[in-house]
């Protein structure tokens, strides 16, 4: 890649005014660094992975609304987590977190347990309790 080939496409980085360093060849064939505002193929890959996350969030929201899963599932997806990441954040076994994803079990949880989840999701206990999808 030559310096003038370093991609300068719009990206999530450039929208925040950020640029990344790339290594490329100058006109004499020597390696140098050049700033890049982003690269379209990479942005496309990131976009589609964000879309996948959004799909999962939407799906979780519907399932909470339908009473199939507890709000924990929705906020877990929203925080880009899965069961094993969430369980390590709340310091509970995975099977326990999995149980808390059932609406019937979730309803009986005391505030101490709910607080653990709420803190990780950066919301209040009330928000967690009352999320209806």
């Amino acid at each position: 890649m030559k310096v003038n080939q370093v991609p300068q496409d719009e990206s999530s980085l450039s929208k925040k005014g950020l640029k990344e360093v790339c290594y490329a060849l100058d006109e004499n064939g020597n390696y140098t660094t050049e700033l890049s505002s982003g690269w379209e193929p990479k942005s496309a890959a990131l976009d589609s992975s964000m879309q996948l996350i959004q799909q999962r969030i939407d799906q979780a929201k519907e399932m909470v609304a339908a009473g199939k899963v507890s709000p924990i599932v929705y906020f877990m997806e929203k925080s880009k987590m899965d069961l094993s990441i969430l369980s390590s954040y709340v310091s509970m076994w995975k099977w326990r977190v999995k149980r808390h994803c059932k609406p019937s079990v979730f309803r009986k949880l005391n505030d101490d347990v709910l607080k653990k989840y709420a803190e990780v999701f950066e919301i209040s206990v009330n928000e967690l309790k009352n999320f209806k999808g």
Binding site: M1, Y31, E40, K42, A44, A45, S49, L52, I85
Partner: protein, 331 residues
């Protein structure tokens, strides 16, 4: 407290922190030199481990390994600490700042507020340097950022104690001892040999063989798991190739830069020829990313597109195999 620390932006966080910390000690090593000495070029395919709903690919060795290997070859001793509680972790960091020691930290990316949302996922092996503290903030030199930045005390605690795979547990590190004289020539030769051996390893999920395995799977995936999932896997492949700052061809260009630098130090012209060849291989990876992006954006159903991608990736594997065989003989 504010340590006089020179921030240089780098393509990749680990090389960047290593290079910046060593430069602070008066050891002039560039980012590509750290990468090369750490035998940083790699490929591993772990089909049985799922990351982000896709098999795991990586274009680099385990986090932390590049700096560890480079330091060892240069005879530099690195002090590393992990902590059981955030309080102890903060205490140790504050003591370092008071003693004027810029300190490297392993952190989780998810809590880094200065990153765009797209980059903030639960990946816990990012690296940055803390070079000072104010009543509210820590002064941060994150090597992938153009200039220095800050995090609040609370934000820094959060990223130092991010949870999940590779949890940093407050991990901090800094050079403890640096030798007066460094034998760069010897270190370069050893590092290059190691890198060749790894890329040519007789293991199906490592190096050139792993690239071949992925390439063959790309041709099979559409039938086996459907087009949607195949495209998602391919997207992950690009994301891993194009981590922040590797813009096209990923780590290949950094390695080519290392070979060019090494050619001069070792007075070995063959290495500059090989540097050019590595640049060409980097361009091939770049082209592959463009082709893949085209495929999943159109959501094309044609079977032969995947066969073409597979063929192109096999070609890269052949090129790399030949390359590393030549490189091994050149040093």
């Amino acid at each position: 407290m504010h340590i006089d620390f020179k921030h240089n932006q780098s393509a990749h966080c680990e090389n960047g922190v290593a290079s910046n910390l060593l430069k602070h000690q008066g050891i002039e090593v560039s980012e590509p030199m750290v990468f090369g000495l750490g035998s940083g070029l790699f490929f591993v395919y772990l089909p049985f481990i799922k990351v982000n709903f896709s098999p795991a690919f990586s274009y680099r060795p385990m986090p932390g390994l590049i700096f560890k290997r480079a330091a060892k070859l240069l005879g530099i001793k690195i002090k590393r600490q992990k902590f059981s509680t955030p309080e102890k972790a903060q205490q140790a960091l504050d003591q370092n700042i008071e003693k004027n020691i810029p300190t490297g930290l392993q952190v989780g990316v998810y809590g880094l507020t200065y990153f765009p949302d797209e980059y903030r996922f639960h990946f816990n092996a990012h690296n940055l340097v803390v070079y000072g503290k104010t009543p509210d903030n820590y002064l941060i030199s994150d090597p992938v950022m153009e200039s220095v930045t800050t995090l609040t005390h609370q934000e820094l605690e959060k990223v130092r104690f991010a949870k999940g795979a590779l949890a940093p547990k407050g991990h901090l590190y800094y050079p403890l001892y640096t030798p007066k004289e460094i034998n760069l020539e010897n270190a370069i030769r050893k590092a290059i040999k190691k890198n060749c051996n790894e890329m040519l390893a007789p293991v199906p999920i490592i190096g050139v063989k792993a690239i071949r395995m992925v390439a063959r799977n790309i041709a099979k995936w559409p039938k086996k798991i459907g087009v949607a999932k195949t495209n998602h896997y391919l997207g992950q492949l690009i994301r891993m190739q194009e981590e922040i700052g590797t813009g096209g061809g990923g780590f290949r260009f950094i390695y080519a830069a290392f070979l060019q630098e090494s050619a001069e130090i070792l007075k070995n012209d063959e290495l500059s020829v090989l540097s050019k060849e590595m640049t060409e291989i980097g361009d091939m990876w770049r082209d592959l990313a463009v082709q893949i992006a085209r495929v999943y954006k159109k959501r094309s159903n044609q079977q032969d597109i995947y066969t073409t991608l597979s063929k192109n990736m096999l070609e890269i594997a052949d090129r790399e195999e030949a390359f590393f065989k030549k490189l091994k003989k050149a040093v």
